[in-house]
């Protein structure tokens, strides 16, 4: 979490009053007052999301419209490809893709979702990065594109096995949507942007709604007995079990997409030999790592004992060696696994699945095994 500058007042999302009314315990997060949990508590909120449906307020995230000055979507897509290693040009209308804004050094400025809405691109970026991302887009793409932050919209995530049935009561055509389909849809009577995606490893949806209707829409979802409001605490444990990166923790400007094991998100067309190979910030380093491998890798780690191993814990090759080989970047307890889970970086030689490493926790060395992620199988409707 980011330290809060005492001089800057915390911002509130359009659902602030609803959070208080539902027993939300509010904490500062990325400049916003956000609910870390509701009355059910992190454990129940987590398990409820995997068993039924959870409603998350992610309105603090940035929503940005990127439109080519020419009016041609391809121009916006090709422009954005200067800043991300993903194939945006071939992204079909109504589809969304996970991407990273890269730095000249090959590091990651932010991770984001990019959707093709037909005549423009729709981006969802992290709350803590959104001002910097907008400035970056302006500085790099203003010649070709207009960049319009949608600050008057809220963003709700409805996640879990019952999310589709709940949303279908208010939105036509939901059952036809596949994972990562995205586009404008009427939800209730409101003009929303709906994507079948999320950050919990569950099937689910993210719904961008005009701020003035956000509370009404959230109440419609919460009126369904299968939906509980979920705080940031369970959002974190859900995404950790799903093996998903948290920006500022698992990825940042010092980690490349290849080191972060995100190369699955880089399409062939942008790699060496592809029709639009390179041409993005940091391409030299990232393409070289795609070809030759990276010196270190982000891996899933399962502690062998019951003690959670948390962010910042140093990693060692054995129980005694003074040589620090890496560190935990996210770690905690996985309620669905009923066991501790973690992620961290290790030199590639130590990063094979099943390898044992040790973390230092309160002066003791605890054994962990490198594990495949997701820790909990995802249930996306592909």
């Amino acid at each position: 979490m980011l330290a809060q500058d005492a001089k800057t007042p915390l911002k509130r999302t359009p659902l602030f009053e609803l959070h208080l009314a539902r027993g939300g315990k509010m904490v500062p997060f990325a400049g916003y007052e956000m609910p870390v949990q509701f009355s059910a508590g992190v454990l129940r909120e987590h398990l409820h999301t995997r068993a039924a449906a959870g409603l998350f307020d992610v309105s603090h995230m940035g929503q940005i419209v990127l439109r080519a000055r020419s009016g041609r979507l391809e121009d916006a897509a090709l422009a954005l490809e200067r800043l991300v290693p993903q194939d945006i040009f071939s992204l079909p209308p109504g589809r969304q893709r996970y991407a990273q804004l890269t730095h000249e050094s090959g590091g990651i400025l932010d991770d984001l979702m990019v959707a093709n809405f037909g005549d423009h691109l729709f981006l969802v970026v992290n709350a803590a990065c959104k001002d910097a991302d907008e400035a970056h887009l302006h500085a790099r793409l203003a010649d070709v594109c207009t960049i319009e932050p949608l600050s008057d919209r809220a963003l709700l995530a409805l996640q879990g096995p019952k999310a589709a049935a709940v949303l279908a009561q208010h939105c036509a055509g939901v059952s036809q949507m596949r994972f990562m389909d995205a586009g404008p849809r009427k939800v209730a009577s409101f003009d929303c942007f709906v994507s079948r995606s999320g950050y919990t490893g569950e099937d689910g949806f993210e719904i961008s709604v005009p701020a003035e209707h956000a509370e009404q829409l959230a109440k419609l979802f919460l009126a369904d007995t299968s939906v509980l409001p979920i705080g940031l605490g369970a959002r974190d444990s859900l995404r950790l079990e799903a093996g998903l990166c948290l920006y500022g923790h698992d990825i940042d400007t010092t980690t490349t997409p290849v080191e972060a094991a995100l190369e699955w998100s880089i399409q062939k067309s942008r790699r060496t030999g592809g029709p639009r190979a390179g041409g993005f910030l940091g391409a030299d380093k990232i393409l070289a790592q795609l070809d030759q491998g990276a010196p270190r890798r982000r891996v899933g780690l399962k502690p062998e004992g019951r003690a959670p191993v948390r962010e910042g814990a140093a990693l060692f090759v054995d129980a005694a060696s003074p040589m620090r080989i890496g560190a935990i970047t996210s770690g905690g307890f996985g309620p669905s696994l009923n066991a501790p889970v973690a992620m961290g970086y290790l030199p590639t030689a130590f990063a094979s699945t099943g390898a044992q490493v040790f973390a230092e926790v309160r002066g003791q060395r605890l054994a962990l095994r490198v594990a495949t992620t997701p820790f909990v199988p995802n249930t996306y409707k592909r």
């Binding site: 870390v36 992190v42 129940r44 987590h46 605490g233 974190d236 019951r306 948390r310 501790p340």
Partner: protein, 121 residues
Amino acid sequence: MTTLFTSDHEWLRIEGDVATVGITDYAQSQLGDVVFVELPKVGRSLKKAEAAAVVESVKAASDVYAPITGQVLEVNEAVTAEPALVNSDAAGKAWFFKMKIADKSELGGLMDEAAYKAHTA
């Protein structure tokens, strides 16, 4: 039998020269769902205010400090086996450890129940 409290939200039940130590119901409600508890080794000599045990919720780890100086006589394995006991019965079955009171004068610095209630109000 007297029950005393610390400002760090621990309770001590005093029986003769033995203190049974746990965390308060207020503390467990603030921590949230407890998923891991680590207790001191039997026989360990604890100094007042030294980290003696660890309680972890889904979100965070918290130290439990020795409320007074003394040697650990017994630990409650039921709590390490079933950490959720801390949420369901913090003041009872989820006691953490028993210690031999080294210096009874240290008890004078602790709160009674009324004072602790005022402290958390």
